[in-house]
Subunit: 158 residues, 2 copies
DNA sequence: GCTTTCTTACTCGGATACCTACTGTCCGAGTGGAATAGG
DNA sequence: CCTATTCCACTCGGACAGTAGGTATCCGAGTAAGAAAGC
């Protein structure tokens, strides 16, 4: 899995802290906050924007703000927005090649047990991620960390 | 996830069908059975062999046989053997960079909520895969498919 | 006929290229604010 | 003083390279079967 997921999730939290008044946070400031490559981080935030998780504003005083409240953003949303919605395990039906090529197609109507088990495992993974919202992530963070982030943002300039 | 997992799992099942007498199945036959690139398939089977899932024999009439009974091979074993045991999501602790670089290290002793949630989701995924053995995969396959595989193997010549 | 040796074909195993996709960078289009000139 | 206009710095957005890891291939080391020769 790519780094963009971690970057995106942390940036959403930071945007929530810094943008409580509805102000937009530019990519440059987020990149500086976490010491990340600004242009590539922007690419990840674009993906979150396309998914509706973030909303982008151009021009001076522009940047990114939350597209919907933190309680309605699950970790699965972030993962899907950046990594795509396709399953990690993709069954290419090799049982239908070679030895089984001349078999009647009706025999392969239902997917093989391996693909089924893999898919079931991934569904539990997705369900677990969908049960965790970014608001839950906030709860596990000490109160003063958010305060210090706001102070840092005020000190670093507009 | 790479294709090797699917290849490895299907090959283990085929090896179990064709090698009931303890005979070893060479890579070439397995590759022919599923129409896969023989050399690369061999590389995947090597990984399974290193993990103890398969046992390799060199020379004439050599090949691969099961390293332990199917009941003791879980899907997680196959995945770990081929893909490695590292988690898909790796936390690089970006919260400690930039803005939080000059923070006292004691504050970051416990992992952040995002990494924790991701790890929990992956653990459920692993648990689900560890609960499914290759023997369970066999049960969901029609009896005559295995028989036809044995007939094919006998017909294609040793 | 049995045993030993030798040959030989066959198999795995790791070292070597290729190619997709994640990572990283750059520059242009567009926007909103602020300064400015006019009323 | 208020308003409309112009300008401009700033931001996002997509198009363009670099690189690591999965994919694919080839050739050599080793082995066990089978043939052949000797007893």
């Amino acid at each position: 899995m790519g780094q963009g997921v971690e970057w995106g999730a942390h940036c959403c939290l930071l945007i929530a802290w810094l943008g409580e008044e509805g102000e937009a946070i530019p990519t440059a400031k987020l990149a500086e906050a976490f010491d990340l490559p600004p242009a590539y981080l922007n690419k990840c935030l674009q993906a979150l924007s396309r998914a509706g998780i973030l909303a982008s504003t151009a021009g001076v005083k522009g940047g990114f703000r939350l597209g919907r409240p933190l309680e309605k953003i699950t970790l699965l949303d972030v993962v899907v927005a950046i990594e795509g919605s396709e399953d990690a395990f993709r069954c290419s039906e090799i049982r239908q090649n070679g030895m089984g090529a001349d078999r009647s197609a009706g025999e392969f109507l239902r997917p093989c047990g391996i693909a089924t088990a893999m898919r079931r495992a991934e569904l539990t993974w997705r369900r677990e991620l969908a049960a965790q919202t970014l608001a839950d992530m906030m709860l596990n963070v000490p109160r003063d960390v958010a305060m210090r982030a706001k102070r840092w943002y005020a000190a670093v300039g507009n």
